[in-house]
Subunit: 105 residues, 2 copies
DNA sequence: TTCTTTTTTGGCAAAATAACCAAATGTTTT
DNA sequence: AAAACATTTGGTTATTTTGCCAAAAAAGAA
């Protein structure tokens, strides 16, 4: 792994890390149906609003979402159209894992 | 987020977490070209062999790779055919991020 | 202006992760 | 059987991540 390759994989890992959290992945999934304001996530998930805000910052810094303030609310939008396909791959891993485990029955 | 949904997103996050590390992602990418033995990774990456081994364990427990011992060597194979597509999505995020940054020039 | 609402920021403690070294395991070679 | 090789496991330490609380910011309403 040469230095350029290394930087490349570090950048990729950063994006994946941003999505590698249950709450953040859920948020991203919600956004794939269209924009939402922060308050909607706070209502739906049982964590402190400051925690939601920090998760959104992580997603934003990774380039996964973008935000826009309108009035007192902040709305977030997904920047990546490939998220659903992306998640299908993740689900395929989980399904394969379950299947290979049940082979032992 | 109900309990079932929560477990689902936790499972997905676990898979993503496994891939969200430069070295592990690189290993997975190498395996998409076919199986490799641990020693090949040890030679190519500048970290302790025990570190490589632990990374491989993480990938295995997440259901991303499988291993087979032949002689004194252990060979790893990718269990997911969608990895390359998956990485294309990650690269699209990075590219979009770079583009939106250069808008400010 | 003051109060209220919505979101972000700063600080802190607990938990998880990563990398190293040393030791153990399993396999082939001598 | 002993030595050599390839990999995993255990233990330790440093770093990162997570989530809460309190406080700050920004906007609108009273």
């Amino acid at each position: 792994m040469n230095p350029k390759e290394k930087r490349q994989y570090e950048a990729r890992a950063k994006v994946l890390k941003a999505l590698a959290h249950p709450t953040r992945l859920w948020i991203a999934r919600q956004l794939s149906d269209g924009e939402h304001c922060v308050c909607e996530f706070v209502d739906a998930v049982d964590v402190d609003f400051s925690t939601i805000s920090k998760h959104l910052t992580v997603l934003k810094e990774a380039g996964i979402v973008e935000s826009e303030k309108r009035g007192k609310q902040v709305f977030y939008r997904l920047k990546i159209p490939c998220l659903l396909k992306f998640m299908e791959c993740v689900d395929a891993v989980i399904l394969a894992q379950i299947e290979s485990q049940s082979e032992f029955l």
